[in-house]
């Protein structure tokens, strides 16, 4: 820093005397806020304010130059732990995604200044979402892990950490990334396995409820109140049949269930309905019985969720061709384009509603947590309880950065890998990824400072509504946490096939559909290994 100051002043051709005078003045200025007790905070706030202004709200999409600038401004934490040029000669391989031209493309920009400062070089493996799972699975199964750092979702911790493929996080990293700032549900056991920490969280996933405000209110077509339970959501969806959308003039529709699979990810959307029925506050498990791994997907609560969808199909409540609508369609082609009035989705909908060129609902969209239910099913007792229930779904538990055991034997390389990962998971940098298109949702308590967003130019009411729905979901005492067990997406994928048959009328009932899913899940459990699945399921639930 002093060298920078000296060079800057040299460029300004200052005399030695003027320079000393200036230094004294700067010193006095620097001392004042410290004496007043808010010095460091001001410096950090300054960085946060600066990065939130890159490129600035309404100034178009960020570019690689912006990502590099943000990366450079956030290098402070790295510099505290790593000397300049300390990793010269180190080469690391980073495997991640390139969804929507985000993820790895941002990481490249963020890490460019880190590479310049540390002297390390990063080689990139970019994968599309669809190719990611098989690539990772094959690498694990065939023992050909060819990457040092990996961007990975928590559901895969069972397959990686559970198989000893990951390197344990050093303590200095925990300090650097300020792990205590993570929202409650992302705290351990998430990111840990057998008590060891492996994950630097860079995302927080949950599904939130998005609705059209112009459908609800006095005299509105959807009723006076925004639905709070799935029973109300279903009733509104039926009541809207034959009505006209107030914004587009097209047929009005209620809730948008995606009826087509999405490589396993589509199952989350049935789970949104089901968790309200089956996630009991006294029981962490909701997908399987933790003692036997017997699926719960065919209990009365889950069957009710499937029946809800079947009833709405039979009633004609969905848009035409909904049977061919996957979550990408319901979120981006339908809801943001003005079709339908209610939706469950990840945070992308919230950030895209105002910023996407294709969105027409930016001014009329509101947010909430996953609708609840007026009754809940107690899986242990095997009976319904006439008690209201809420259970937001933490779908996918967010992306994290992990370091593989390829670097464990080389201390210099190991430190470099963790330093790069920590840079991406840094507190300040994460504020930027939460605020701008990145593919990541807010996930730290410090992200929910609405004034900070408002100062950067965001509409405070909108941000409070959007972020509030995230915060309320994360902090919900009965949140449904996804089990981090091997093959979890195999279960989801096979369920999607059976649901598609059920929705198209090839099964006689919701119960028969659910039974088919349960039977397929049993096969998968037996194939992967029931005992190991039970152990890992319990571990992932912290039981």
């Amino acid at each position: 820093m002093k060298v920078d100051l000296y060079e800057a002043m040299s460029r300004a051709k200052l005399s030695r005397r003027r320079m000393l005078q200036g230094s004294a003045a700067l010193g006095a200025m620097a001392a004042m806020p410290t004496a007043m007790g808010y010095g460091p905070a001001m410096a950090q706030d300054s960085v946060r304010a600066q990065i939130l202004a890159i490129p600035g709200v309404g100034n178009g999409s960020p570019t690689d130059a912006d990502w590099q600038k943000v990366g450079e401004l956030c290098l402070g934490a790295t510099k505290a732990n790593v000397a300049e040029g300390e990793f010269a000669g180190v080469e690391l391989t980073f495997m991640g995604l390139n969804n929507q031209n985000l993820h790895n493309l941002l990481f490249r920009g963020f890490l460019k200044p880190w590479e310049t400062y540390t002297g390390a070089k990063i080689n990139w493996i970019d994968l599309a979402q669809a190719d990611y799972n098989p690539r990772l699975q094959q690498a694990i199964a065939t023992g050909t892990v060819d990457f040092d750092i990996i961007e990975m979702g928590a559901p895969f911790e069972g397959e990686t950490a559970g198989k000893g493929m990951l390197d344990e996080m050093p303590d200095w990293v925990k300090t650097q990334i300020e792990a205590d700032d993570l929202v409650g549900y992302l705290q351990p056991p998430v990111g840990t396995w057998d008590g060891k920490s492996y994950r630097i969280t860079i995302d927080g996933d949950c599904h939130t409820f998005a609705y059209r405000k112009d459908y609800f209110g006095e005299g509105a077509i959807g009723g006076a109140e925004v639905p709070k339970t799935w029973q109300e959501v279903n009733a509104v969806s039926r009541a809207l049949i034959g009505q006209t959308d107030p914004l587009t003039g097209l047929p009005a529709h209620g809730y948008l269930d995606p009826l087509k699979g999405w490589g396993g990810f589509g199952f989350y959307f049935l789970a949104n309905r089901a968790t309200a029925y089956v996630k009991h506050p006294d029981d962490r498990a909701w997908l399987f019985d933790p003692d036997t791994m017997k699926p719960r997907v065919n209990n009365e609560g889950w069957v009710q969720a499937i029946q809800d969808v079947m009833d709405l199909i039979a009633a004609g409540a969905y848009p035409a061709d909904q049977i061919n609508a996957d979550p990408g369609t319901t979120g981006f082609s339908q809801f943001l384009a003005g079709t339908g009035s209610m939706l469950m989705w990840w945070g992308d909908i919230g950030s895209s509603a105002r910023t996407s060129d294709t969105s027409v609902v930016g001014d009329v969209v509101g947010f909430g947590i996953n609708p609840g239910s007026s009754r809940r099913y107690n899986s242990v007792a095997g009976a319904w309880e006439e008690t209201a229930n809420e259970a937001p779904l933490m779908a996918y538990i967010g992306w994290g950065i992990y370091v593989t055991n390829r670097v464990s034997g080389d201390e210099k390389k190991r430190k470099a890998a963790w330093s790069a990962a920590a840079h991406l998971g840094g507190k300040d940098l994460s504020l930027w990824t939460a605020a701008y298109p990145s593919g990541f949702q807010p996930y730290r308590n410090s992200h929910f400072n609405y004034d900070e967003w408002a100062a950067a130019g965001y509409d405070k009411d909108f941000v409070a509504d959007y972020l509030g729905s995230n915060a309320d979901s994360y902090n919900h005492p009965n949140a449904a946490i996804e089990p981090r067990i091997p093959g979890i997406f195999q279960y989801y994928s096979v369920a999607e096939d059976e649901l598609a048959k059920g929705y198209s009328g090839q099964y006689a009932s919701a119960q028969e559909t659910a039974d088919a899913i349960a039977a397929a899940w049993e096969k998968i459990t037996d194939q992967i290994g029931r005992d190991s699945q039970i152990a890992l399921y319990k571990a992932s639930l912290g039981m």
Partner: protein
Amino acid sequence: MLLVAAAQLLHMTGSAEFGFENWRPTLYTYITWAICLCWGQVLLHGEHGKRTLFVLPAALFVISLTVFPLLFGLIIAFSDWNLSSPDGRSFNGLENVRQMWADPFYWNAMLNMVWYVLAILVEYAIAFALALALNAEIRARKFFRVAFLLPLMLSPVAVSWMIGKSMLEPRFGPIASLGRALGWDDPSFFGSPWIAKATIMVMDAWTFIPFMMIMILAGLQAIPKELHEAAKVDGANGWRAFWEVTFPMMLPVSITAILIRIIFKLKLADIVIAVTSGGPGGATDTVTSFIFREYRDRSNVGYGTLLAMVYLVVIVIAMTLLMKFAERISRPRT
């Protein structure tokens, strides 16, 4: 070489404790053996051996790239190998066959393939008609030849998005709008099983009819003009000349075009995966798209490989029968 391979095989199947961690030693042994074999040919047979070297290395290379993977695939096909299983791969006898026998998704996809293949007859008729039109003395013939070929140059994924996701989009798609204008209340092209299947057939046909058309056109241009002139002199009208001269002369080309098209069709997957994911309820699923799902989404390598192997056998048998049938009907009548 065989000893090394056998040791590795026994080790891999768990029958013996000795062996190697991976197949690399076997590969190195094979390369060494191949070099020795080539060298030996020269030493033993002199000039004749040198001539053998023009073919032998290529043959050995092909063996390593086709025969070995095929054998490896066969082993996997009779294994229980889920990539998520901590126990890895294990031999499970005929369990995968039993599972396949009881798998409604696989047989449903197989049945769909029958419909998809039958649709080739319609494609052939359209391709023939287009080829006849382009073979005639029409205006802008060169332009139309190029224009009709364009769909073939497009990636099936691009076709999926351009037609399946855009033009057929039920709310704003131009074809859906046209359907509404013509009185179709609910123009949904992928909502019901048969319409979805037919729409996929049309999209696939749109891409590949130009391929059949260009083959038939080449055949038409090879028919000597004298034959048509002779038919004309004999008093045959255009319709009769087509059935008595053109069509019989085109039979060998037509059969070739249809057989190649069947091979393409049996591999149909990309359009289905991109547009319907096999839905609604498996109505548009193909064997290839189902195997892809089984392997990619479910990491079920053993079962997926068995399905692929069985499909390969079915294709080989079907194509052999078809070729025999084609040979019979294209044999000149005496």
